[in-house]
């Protein structure tokens, strides 16, 4: 068989051949069954051991847990520390050591406001504080505390609760943490409130 005959003979085989004698050909049928068997096995195996193509499944016998992305709760103290030290926030006036600056910014360490009623500190952070305020027997009045709620830095309830919980246990303070729910409740009560004064706050129980 030379090259020309080789090409011609096989060319004919690939073309459609009229099935004149209605000859039954077993081979294609057998191959169809073999192929189907392989595909069946492949599909079953793939479905069973693929871990649903999850990139975090390393054991083929496990399946993803199906609860979707895990709801991660950050540590409120760690979040608070980060918020305290974020740009332009608390630390720039009250100082990283919580001592403030005598005559200008009141200290947070040992402050009766910080360690006092949660309802008051939440209000101060949410809406700010203006006018003279007495801390540890000294009067501060030159500076204005900005609002961190929706009219100012626009921190979330979780962030405000975090930063308050942080300052209430740092630098020797030993007060209870503030919960996110508490912040949310007060935010709803005091919507659109301007900066607080000492007198207003003393009225809050």
């Amino acid at each position: 068989m030379n090259d020309g005959e080789l090409l011609e003979a096989h060319e004919k085989l690939l073309g459609r051949q009229p099935d004149d004698r209605a000859k039954y050909r077993l081979l294609p049928l057998v191959m169809l069954f073999v192929l189907s068997g392989c595909v069946l096995f492949a599909a079953t195996y793939l479905n069973r051991y693929s871990g649903h193509f999850d990139r975090s499944i390393f054991n083929e016998n496990l399946l993803p847990t199906g609860s979707g992305p895990v709801d991660l709760k950050p540590d409120p103290i760690a979040l608070g520390r980060r918020m305290f030290n974020s740009g332009g926030a608390c630390y720039s006036c009250h100082q990283p050591n919580g001592q403030g600056i005598p005559g200008a910014y009141p200290p947070l360490a040992g402050s009766e406001w910080v360690n006092g009623a949660g309802a008051r500190v939440v209000r101060i952070v949410l809406d700010g504080l203006q006018g003279p305020v007495h801390v540890g027997g000294k009067t501060f009045g030159a500076a204005v505390m900005p609002a961190f709620g929706s009219s100012g830095f626009n921190w979330s309830d979780e962030q405000i609760a975090g930063v308050l919980s942080y300052v209430r246990q740092e630098w020797g303070n030993k007060s209870k943490p503030i919960s996110t729910d508490e912040v949310a409740k007060i935010r709803a009560l005091t919507a659109d409130h301007k900066a607080w004064s000492e007198a207003d706050l003393l009225g809050v129980k």
């Binding site: 068989m1 090259d3 005959e5 096989h10 191959m31 073999v34 392989c38 195996y45 193509f53």
Partner: protein, 470 residues
């Protein structure tokens, strides 16, 4: 189908030989030189595997070097040169025109072999990459890509400018492999050498490359040759030829997905090995179809008696190829893989595929092609017979020895109490069989090289004598 008369064209010479003889024979000569280099290194590495003190005084030939050098010489020296030569020859003949761009092929052949030689020097002097099947230093790899393109031009032009619009199976595989190698080689280069991916992704890409080199490049080389030689020698059309197309496309589409098999139990997402296992099962129809199509290779009395030796090589290669495919599917099963993975069994599988399968089919095609290229029969029939016998014995010993070592090693490793020294002692006899096998194969290949040199060289001498006397 009646058998064609082999006497119709006794020389069976086409314009392809007249135009392409020089670069094709050059590539074949290079390939045989690399085959001997690789065989020698395989023997050294084989001995070192069970007797580590062997050649320990020579820093260039420590075990890590010999293994990497052997792999490189075999893949890029032997398979690439011989495969490209024979595939271009087949594409040229089936194209029906004189071979075009033969000088491109010759230049490419020179540069390819310069690159491989430079790569070998690089590996021996310690600048090898740490990547399986891609140990050649990074700065040489672009040269290889360019040289490959230059060699492949002739085959691609023969396919583009063919005289018949239809294509035969040997052409499908031939053209596909010309284009597939640059793809897998360049992707591996970029992702592993130039801009390496990080962490476990590297192992995934590496597994893909090593496996694709075999399924998408070496296997098509072997099949292109076998699909051409078998019907020509037997004088019969391929049985079940309408299935051949399915066999071809399933190899091309599914072949590249089987790489993750080597990562079973590794730190990769479970779906990667799973898909590879599924792919190796889906490849089974490919092997069945190839066996059906090329079953004519087992014919005892072919129409073309001269081609009988080619058929003997191809039938052995075909059996090894199909067996290799079946073994791949079985060892893909996770419980089996757990017992034999990361042992010598991997090496046995690889030898069965690249030596038993691809190399034997290449030998068969080479025995068929060279008389037509050189214009005369092989110089010595007894050297050829010796090569066949030594190759068959060598491969059986090699695969059985290495697989035995793998099974012993696997069962020892699964037993917590067995010490490393005890494993080495248990594996020793099996690996000794392996090094005997390497020596046998090397001896066989020396016979082939002598026969080749006599056939090609004597033809030259005779032509020179005739030119002088006239």
């Amino acid at each position: 189908m009646t058998s064609a008369n082999p006497q119709a064209n006794p020389n069976d010479e086409t314009p392809v030989e007249a135009t392409g003889r020089c670069p094709i024979v050059l590539l074949l000569a290079f390939s045989l030189a690399w085959l001997l280099v690789s065989g020698t290194l395989a023997f050294i590495a084989g001995v070192q595997a069970h007797t580590p003190a062997f050649m320990a005084g020579c820093p260039i030939l420590t075990y890590g070097h010999t293994r990497a050098l052997q792999d490189t010489a075999f893949t890029y020296g032997w398979i690439a040169n011989c495969g490209l030569a024979l595939v271009t020859w087949i594409l040229g003949r089936l194209g029906g025109h004189p071979l075009r761009a033969a000088n491109w092929m010759g230049v490419g052949a020179l540069f390819w072999n310069i690159a491989v030689a430079a790569g070998m020097v690089g590996i021996a002097t310690g600048s090898a990459t740490a990547l399986t099947s891609l140990q050649i230093p990074g700065h040489i790899q672009p040269l290889m890509l360019a040289a490959y393109a230059s060699i492949a031009v002739a085959g691609v032009l023969a396919w583009c400018g063919r005289s018949r619009p239809s294509l035969y199976a040997a052409q499908w595989y031939g053209v596909a492999l010309l284009f597939l190698f640059p793809w897998i080689f360049s992707v591996a280069q970029v992702m592993l050498v130039w801009a390496p991916v990080h962490g476990v992704l590297q192992a995934i890409v590496e597994g893909w490359y090593a496996q694709s080199l075999w399924t998408l490049w070496m296997a098509p080389i072997a099949l292109a040759g076998a699909y051409y030689v078998v019907p020509r020698v037997t004088g019969r059309v391929i049985p079940g030829y309408d299935l051949a197309l399915l066999g071809f496309w399933s190899l091309i589409f599914i072949g590249g997905w089987t790489g993750g098999r080597h990562l079973i139990g590794g730190p990769v997402p479970a779906w990667i090995p799973t898909i590879a296992i599924v792919a190796s099962v889906l490849l089974l129809p490919h092997y069945i179809i190839v066996l059906l199509n090329l079953g004519g290779a087992f014919t005892r009395n072919p129409a073309d008696r001269e081609g009988g030796r080619s058929l003997a090589f191809i039938s052995f290669g075909l059996a090894a190829y199909v067996l290799g495919g079946a073994v791949d599917s079985v060892t893909g099963i996770r419980s089996v893989a757990a017992a034999i993975q990361f042992t010598w069994f991997d090496e046995a599988q690889r030898q069965l595929a690249v030596y038993g399968g691809v190399t034997m089919m290449l030998f068969g095609t080479l025995y068929y092609a060279l008389p037509r290229l050189a214009g005369r029969a092989w110089a010595s029939a007894s050297l050829a017979r010796g090569h066949l016998i030594l190759s068959c014995i060598g491969i059986v010993l090699l695969v059985v020895g290495t697989a035995g070592a793998g099974i012993v090693q696997g069962s020892d490793l699964s037993t917590a109490g067995v010490s490393f020294a005890a494993i080495a002692t248990d594996v020793h006899p099996w690996l000794s069989v392996g090094s005997v096998a390497h020596a046998t194969l090397l001896l066989g290949n020396i016979l082939l090289a002598i026969n080749f040199a006599m056939t090609v060289g004597c033809g030259r001498l005779r032509a020179a004598a005739e030119a002088l006397s006239s």
